[in-house]
């Protein structure tokens, strides 16, 4: 394997912006996008804040046939995929459809659609359930719909490992490229802001119950007390370098240079959590010395135990306060499968601009030896970025992204 894997297109649907330019203009300055839940009546629930995407009208972006058969999460995924393909400048017919595929990550699937159909099932009867329920709820539906809409006839798949899935999908895309595909659209999406999604998040027991948008999600802060959920995600176009050069790809955002994934040991075993090893594996895979890393986009769970584990893993690899660390998802909340792909987009945009987006609202706890880019953005030459994501159940994933000259 000599050819590198390049990021040649990006698309974002995030609470902080629909479309890359809107997203980055908000993210680079650290503007909060968390607010009270408006998508359903959350007033009777213990958690009432979310990172919502406002003003998204699917009919403005998608064909009339697609809207009735898709959940919000799929609509967001399709729109972000459209943006990523347009950004990459892929004209139909330039690449063999069987050499193009899609791999996405999902945490919840089409929960809002499913919730509405289940409500009809129990209140009106089975005949009132939409025929589209057969696939609209399903974790793999985003990959399926993106594949159909964009004529991708090569490998398709979905990975499910909570927040870590957003990076695991990119790694699966790389495997497909190494097996011979020329282009894989990859990323992750979640849109759980409905009562069914809320019940799932609440059941996890790690949600913030604060009603103050700027005090509710505070990773690495002494006041860390859980997370706020958000909705959205990002799509990236990954291409084999030779293929990208052959077709004259107009933008190369960076190289997908390394990946590592581990599982935590059984709780109570006393063994070290798996995150440090995931970072080591990703750096080794990228042939990258820790000193070359210019920024770490941390997972930022915002529960004291998970924050401590993550801070210790970063410090163990890089040394105390030796690398800038940031958690821009403090602006949007945690978006499960969508969170890490958005961070990868932020990482390549940090390289483009020479600016690290900030961790908003957080005052770093004295307990962590981190160089946290808190409150304000930081100008910096970014050539190599590490993105971390951890999923419920012990999933740890790390991705190294590198600038390409």
């Amino acid at each position: 394997m000599s050819a590198r894997i390049l990021v040649t297109g990006i698309g974002v649907a995030a609470p902080s912006g629909l479309g890359v330019e809107d997203f980055w203009s908000v993210t680079r300055i650290g503007k909060n996008a968390i607010g009270p839940v408006t998508r359903f009546d959350a007033s009777a629930y213990p958690s009432r804040l979310a990172g919502e995407i406002h003003g998204f009208e699917p009919k403005e972006h998608l064909p009339g046939r697609l809207v009735p058969q898709t959940d919000r999460v799929t609509q967001l995924a399709l729109v972000a995929a459209d943006c990523a393909f347009a950004d990459a400048g892929i004209e139909p017919g330039t690449i063999d459809p069987y050499a193009m595929g899609v791999v996405t990550a999902a945490g919840a699937g089409g929960f809002e659609f499913a919730e509405n159909e289940l409500r009809k099932l129990w209140s009106e009867g089975a005949k009132h359930v939409s025929a589209y329920q057969s696939f609209a709820w399903f974790y793999a539906v985003n990959s399926g719909q993106i594949s159909i809409r964009n004529g991708l006839r090569g490998p398709a798949g979905v990975v499910i490992s909570d927040q870590a899935g957003g990076l695991d999908a990119l790694a699966q895309a790389r495997r497909q490229l190494r097996k011979g595909s020329k282009l894989i659209a990859t990323g992750g999406f979640d849109a759980p802001i409905c009562s069914l999604g809320w019940a799932s998040h609440l059941h996890g027991g790690l949600m913030s119950t604060s009603d103050e948008p700027e005090r509710a999600y505070l990773p690495f802060d002494d006041a860390a007390a859980g997370y706020v959920p958000g909705e959205g995600g990002a799509m990236l176009i990954l291409e084999d370098e030779d293929s990208a050069r052959d077709r004259g790809a107009r933008t190369v955002y960076g190289e997908f240079a390394g990946y590592g994934a581990t599982l935590d040991p059984k709780p109570g075993s006393g063994r070290e959590p798996g995150l440090r090893r995931a970072i080591d594996v990703a750096l080794t895979d990228a042939a990258c010395h820790p000193a070359e890393v210019d920024v770490v986009f941390a997972d930022g769970a915002a529960t004291p135990r998970l924050d401590r584990e993550e801070a210790e893993a970063i410090t163990a690899v890089f040394g105390p306060r030796a690398v800038p660390v940031t958690v821009p998802k403090t602006m949007t909340g945690r978006i499960n499968s969508g969170g890490a792909p958005i961070d990868v987009v932020s990482a390549v945009l940090s390289m483009r601009e020479g600016l690290i987006p900030p961790t908003t609202n957080v005052e770093l706890s004295d307990a962590y030896d981190l160089d946290l880019v808190a409150v304000r953005p930081r100008t910096a030459s970014v050539r190599t970025a590490l993105v971390l994501a951890r999923g419920r159940g012990g999933f740890n994933s790390a991705v190294v992204v590198r600038a390409v000259d």
Binding site: G64, R65, V67, P68, K127, S130, Y132
Partner: protein, 94 residues
Amino acid sequence: MKGSILSKQEFTFDDLKRILLEGAGADEGVDLDGDILDSEFETLGYESLALLETGGRIEREFGITLDDDVFTDNPTPRSLVTAINESLSALVDA
């Protein structure tokens, strides 16, 4: 007994267009208000699942039960409207 409220109804082409739009939407390249009475559903962009959803909505709204192969036997709007009205009048005559 004749003449329940449901069985008095007639199923019109406008009903079909409305139900298609509600349940499955419309393809951008297709004008449902155009001359489509004799076009096949498939060429109008409606695959089997869209037709299943459409059939289910017609059954619910008009209180009838359609055969599983109603769309195979009636691949165009004109023929479907005729078939459904036959089902409705069968209810009245029963």
